[in-house]
């Protein structure tokens, strides 16, 4: 038999089989018990009739009432159990679906994320999970509350008078058929009103966020007129959608209830002794109540199918994501220091045929710090990213004897990265540096000169930094990102412009700490500021036309005109920060 994976609905039902068992037992108990109320109601009337006639005594009534109360207590208790567990069931499924989905998300390669608006997509998928689980819950509930209960009612009333039952049962299916045929109209008007509501929100945001543009150009009145059009459209569609939604239910009910005329007429004859069966008052009352409940239920049946359909649509949207999910990969321990050899490296963005850089070769030993620079848009950051092997590259990157990327060894555990974008999480400074890893974070905070900053915050390293670190200055954000990179040690570090927002003195201090702490690591330092470059072991100059030179600072200064010009320019400004 095929093993059920998270991409199959049955997987979740199977997973929650214990809860489902409880739901089934209590559901059957409750729904069979549903006929108790109409039966007892009838018996009460009958008992009163008998007492008036002198056939029974008050004691009979007490017994009847007590047993009624007890039976209902039992029935409603099992109803409670059923309701609770069906909800637990849905809640559990929602939890595990979300977990599976997140595991999938967190493993998605950067490359794939760039192609689509993954964040928005995933948020939508998660709200789909809620819809889908809600549908699964309703389905499970209604199997009992509609399916079983309707069968019970039908059996009950057929037992009282099968001929009458055959006659009155014609109507609920007609109501159901009508419901089915009108369902699409209802869904369509609902969808239209939703669309119109979305359009109105969009227009509102546009009107407000561009208010100044409209004012400058004197276009406010034009926009107000347009807004009025949207409002009118919204009003119309909302009313229409509401009308359909409100009107349908009573129409089904009317049709399904036509049977009551027959019940009263023919049932009355039964009581009077001139009908198909001989009834007492209890039978009459019970039959009528059961039929009305049956008719009402059947008019609700359409709702059930709507819920299931909605669930199906959302399931189809989440299913590919769930199917693709796999468990998290094993963590690769940090690799030992080794030599880095780069041979004829080139990189071309997928879909383009102009290489950003090509034929770049250099090598480095543990402890080396290599500077990478070049004019604006010469591919400095792209070169740094090549070592993360997110996209295939030309040539070879060898770390020790292992070739990185292009289907060979993954750079996991080898390359550490600190990018332009600090990529901070909404949380505390400490959480951002640790990311769940144990150990002492004070040394890395000192290394990036964040110790004094932290001391000045009221909550120290437990300071909350806000979404994306927005409560911190740019320089603080960059330094926390750098601290995080240092706290997760890797033998090869790529630092893309870590000092862009840091003053000169701090830059020098951090540099000396890097020299001190990273004796067995290779650091590739990408920067447009050349202050530190005379002290670096090697410089890679990217010309911007794809070619490049790897040499020491002194050699480059002599041989490369563009490098000398840039260096002198910055030097003349006192090592300036304009780059």
């Amino acid at each position: 038999m095929k093993r059920l994976g998270p991409g199959s609905v049955r997987y979740y039902f199977y997973h929650e089989k214990k809860l489902l068992l409880i739901v089934t037992l209590s559901g059957i108990l409750y729904n069979v018990g549903m006929i108790a109320a109409p039966w007892f109601d009838g018996q009460l009337a009958q008992c009163l009739y008998d007492i008036f006639a002198g056939n029974r005594t008050a004691a009979d009534m007490y017994v009847l009432c007590l047993s009624y109360a007890l039976v209902i207590l039992g029935v409603q208790s099992s109803r409670y159990v059923k309701r609770l567990y069906v909800r637990k069931f849905a809640n559990n499924i929602s939890l595990s679906m979300k977990d599976i989905l997140y595991q999938h998300l967190v493993q998605t390669p950067k490359r794939d994320m760039e192609q689509a608006d993954t964040g928005a997509l995933m948020t939508k998928v998660i709200s789909d999970i809620d819809t889908c689980v809600e549908g699964m819950r309703k389905f499970t509930t209604e199997i009992f509350d509609t399916g079983i209960v309707m069968v019970t009612y039908v059996v009950m009333i057929a037992w009282y008078d099968w001929r009458l039952t055959l006659c009155v049962l014609v109507f609920p299916p007609i109501a159901y058929a009508l419901a089915n045929s009108l369902r699409r109209t209802v869904a369509m008007t609902a969808a239209r009103s939703k669309e119109s509501s979305g359009a109105l929100s969009g227009m509102t945001l546009d009107r407000i966020s561009n208010a100044m543009t409209y004012r400058v150009y004197g276009e406010e009145a034009v926009q107000d007129q347009r807004y009025e059009d949207y409002l009118t459209d919204y009003e119309k569609k909302m009313i229409l959608a509401n009308l359909w939604e409100n009107a349908l239910q009573p129409i089904y009910k009317v049709i399904a209830m036509i049977g009551t005329i027959l019940v009263i007429w023919s049932g009355g004859h039964n009581v009077l002794g001139t009908g198909w069966e001989t009834w007492d008052i209890a039978a009459f009352s019970t039959y009528l109540t059961c039929f009305i409940r049956l008719a009402t239920k059947s008019s609700h049946a359409a709702k059930l199918f709507n819920a299931i359909q909605k669930a199906q649509v959302s399931w189809l949207r989440i299913q590919p994501h769930l199917r693709a999910a796999s468990t998290l990969p094993r963590t690769v321990p940090p690799a030992a220091p080794a030599y880095l050899t780069v041979r004829h490296l080139s990189f071309t963005y997928p879909g383009s045929d102009v290489p950003i850089f090509q034929d770049l070769s250099f090598s480095a030993r543990p402890g080396d710090i290599i500077g990478i620079t070049g004019p604006v848009a010469s591919g400095k950051s792209t070169l740094g990213l090549a070592f993360l092997c997110e996209n295939p590259h030309g040539g070879q990157i060898l770390f020790g004897t292992q070739e990185l990327g292009n289907g060979h060894t993954s750079p996991k555990g080898i390359a550490g990265y600190c990018g332009h974008d600090a990529e901070l999480f909404a949380g505390t400074i400490e959480e951002n540096i640790r990311l769940g890893k144990g150990g002492d974070i004070i040394p890395v905070l000192n290394a990036v000169c964040m110790d004094q900053d932290c001391a000045s915050f009221p909550d120290g390293i437990r300071t909350l930094i806000g979404e994306g670190g927005q409560r911190l200055s740019g320089g603080q954000q960059a330094r926390i990102a750098l601290a995080r990179t240092l706290f997760h040690p890797r033998p090869l570090l790529i630092l893309d412009d870590p000092f862009a927002a840091v003053d000169m003195a701090t830059e020098r201090a951090i540099y000396s700490h890097l020299r001190r702490d990273c004796k067995d690591r290779i650091i590739l330092l990408i920067s447009h500021r050349l202050t530190l470059f005379p002290m670096l072991d090697q410089i890679i100059w990217l010309n911007g036309d794809g070619s490049s030179i790897a040499a020491t600072h002194e050699e480059l200064y002599v041989s490369c005109h563009a490098y000398r010009k840039l260096y002198d320019l910055q030097h003349a400004q006192g090592g300036g920060s304009h780059g």
């Binding site: 109803r79 543009t213 406010e220």
Partner: protein, 542 residues
């Protein structure tokens, strides 16, 4: 805001009348069927019932039962229409209000928050109206009508219900409050979950290089757990409430029956006949559903009150004088600023004693250190703010009082960044103004050198605008096209080449050269000055 409300009510008074009638009808229809049933059963018991009255009673019973649904639907629809009328008028009024709010309002309030005022808060107001006040009145009347009938049939049961009703109502409110709290907690947890997703996507490189997928899963797991636990609490209340109510109903019925047969005097008090038993049982079951609704309606009203407070604040915001009708005089000097001083709100002056006269066709570059008020000066020229002292005159007229339809023929304004509007690519240039012809748009695009790019889009100029169609530099070119499409006399450029690489910058400078012909140009940009020359004015201390 109260005005808007009253006006809407007055405008739709007929609708209001029909609504009231519909509510009365719906109550009447919903309480009569048990009475008919009582009549049928009592007649059956007495044995004196023939075919035709039986048939008639059956039809009447069916009609009332079935009709109650239809009347309800009619009532609901009327309520919706009414609610929609009110929100429509309110939103219109708010939108018109936007025109009168000073520029500082838009600077001090986030667009998202103001939008939520117009979208969400007005929606809660609608809820207050239809699923709050109106429904609550209808429900209260339903309860009282049922009670009246019950008292009439059986004073004993009436008393019994009067005792139980408040208790059950308190119970209902208790559960509803707990559920609301749980749902609130859940929503908070869900919104935190939703924040984690874009964050994860944004930071995925860090997660991968640090190999912290497990940690991230745990972190996410914690927030979904919170939501899970909140849901569990809400589920408990949700599951137990309805069984309690139904059990209570049954106990009341049993109590009524037991008491009514226990002694002759009590039997009189309960006034039982076989038919009334059936009818009363039906009433007992009916009285609890409006009770539950009232609880919900109280909640709706409570949550709407906060929204109303915010809407009131919005209408209480100070407004500026309405846009005037002054017309610029083409023969006057394009720009005269005389001894002007300005500062925002209660802050100190940013500049004072600033004087500048710009003649037609002149090219002027404003320079000064950061914060000296270069961009602010532009806002004064555009009439978004008024100077504290001195005066600003554009073609002889106060720019803040200039007739709105004429503004585009006077000003073209380009900022550091392109602000896209919702709509097609052509709308970006016309701002949906019907006066802007397709030819004018084409001409403007040719002028800035963007025609080929726009023309190559899937549906040409009619393509819905998406930011990814254009680079930053091209966005600025669109801004320039927007500024010049109605052939303005004065162009204002505020650092329009900031944050651009040199290639794009040269493209934009080229476009500027093209559009600056025969126009008066003011700019805040060194590069423009370097490439085009003109007069240089320093604002603030040099």
């Amino acid at each position: 805001m109260g005005n808007v409300f009253l006006q809407t009510l007055r405008k739709n008074s007929l609708l209001l009348l029909i609504l009231i009638l519909a509510i009365i009808a719906s109550i009447a229809v919903s309480i009569t069927p048990p009475l008919i049933l009582q009549y049928i059963i009592d007649s059956l018991v007495s044995g004196a019932f023939s075919t035709y009255p039986l048939m008639a009673a059956g039809v009447l019973y069916f009609t009332l039962n079935a009709g109650s649904g239809l009347v309800d639907a009619f009532k609901e629809t009327l309520i919706t229409i009414f609610g929609q009328k009110i929100t429509h008028d309110l939103r219109s009024a708010m939108c018109r209000r936007l025109d009168d709010l000073p520029a500082s309002y838009f600077v001090n309030h986030e667009a998202g928050a103001v939008t939520s005022l117009l979208v969400n808060d007005v929606d809660t107001l609608e809820n207050l109206f239809d699923s709050g006040v109106v429904s609550m009145i209808a429900d209260i009347f339903t309860i009282f009508s049922i009670l009246a009938v019950v008292f009439h049939l059986s004073p004993g049961l009436g008393a019994l219900i009067c005792i139980c009703l408040p208790l059950l109502f308190l119970l209902t409110r208790y559960f509803q409050k707990r559920m609301l709290q749980a749902q609130r907690d859940n929503r908070i947890a869900v919104s935190r979950t939703n924040e984690l997703i874009p964050e994860t996507v944004h930071n995925i490189r860090t997660i991968h290089t640090c190999q912290q997928e497990r940690y991230m899963r745990q972190r996410y797991g914690r927030t979904i757990r919170d939501s899970f636990e909140a849901m569990e609490r809400s589920n408990f209340c949700d599951s137990i409430y309805s069984p309690i109510i139904i059990t209570s109903c049954t106990v009341i019925i049993c109590l009524m029956m037991s008491l009514s047969v226990s002694s002759p005097s009590l039997q009189e008090l309960f006034g039982m006949t076989v038919g009334s038993v059936v009818a009363l049982i039906a009433y007992v079951r009916r009285i609890f559903s409006p009770l539950e609704s009232i609880g919900m309606e109280i909640q709706n009203i409570q949550s709407a009150v906060a929204g109303i407070g915010r809407l009131k604040d919005f209408f209480a915001e100070p407004v500026q004088e309405k846009n005037g009708t002054m017309e610029p005089d083409p023969a006057a000097t394009p720009l005269v600023i005389g001894d002007a001083a300005f500062g925002y709100g209660k802050e100190a002056d940013i500049f004072h004693h600033f004087t500048l006269i710009v003649e037609a066709g002149e090219m002027v570059t404003i320079t000064g250190r950061t914060g000296a008020g270069k961009s602010t000066l532009f806002k004064l020229i555009l009439g978004l703010y008024r100077p504290r002292q001195g005066q600003v005159r554009v073609f002889g007229c106060d720019p803040s009082r200039m007739a709105a339809p004429l503004r585009r023929q006077v000003f073209g304004y380009v900022e550091q960044q392109f602000h896209a509007i919702h709509g097609t690519v052509a709308d970006q240039i016309s701002l949906k103004d019907p006066r802007v012809t397709p030819e004018a748009i084409e001409k403007a695009l040719h002028l800035v050198g963007l025609w080929d790019t726009c023309h190559a889009l899937p549906q040409g100029l009619a393509t819905p605008y998406k930011p990814e169609f254009f680079s930053r530099g091209q966005g600025q070119l669109l801004s320039i096209a927007r500024a010049v499409v109605m052939d303005p006399q004065i162009l204002l450029f505020d650092e329009i080449t900031a944050n651009l690489d040199s290639l794009t910058e040269s493209q934009i400078l080229q476009a500027l050269q093209a559009v600056a012909q025969n126009r008066t140009v003011l700019s805040i940009s060194h590069r423009l000055y370097e490439s085009q020359g003109g007069r240089r004015i320093v604002i603030g201390d040099p």
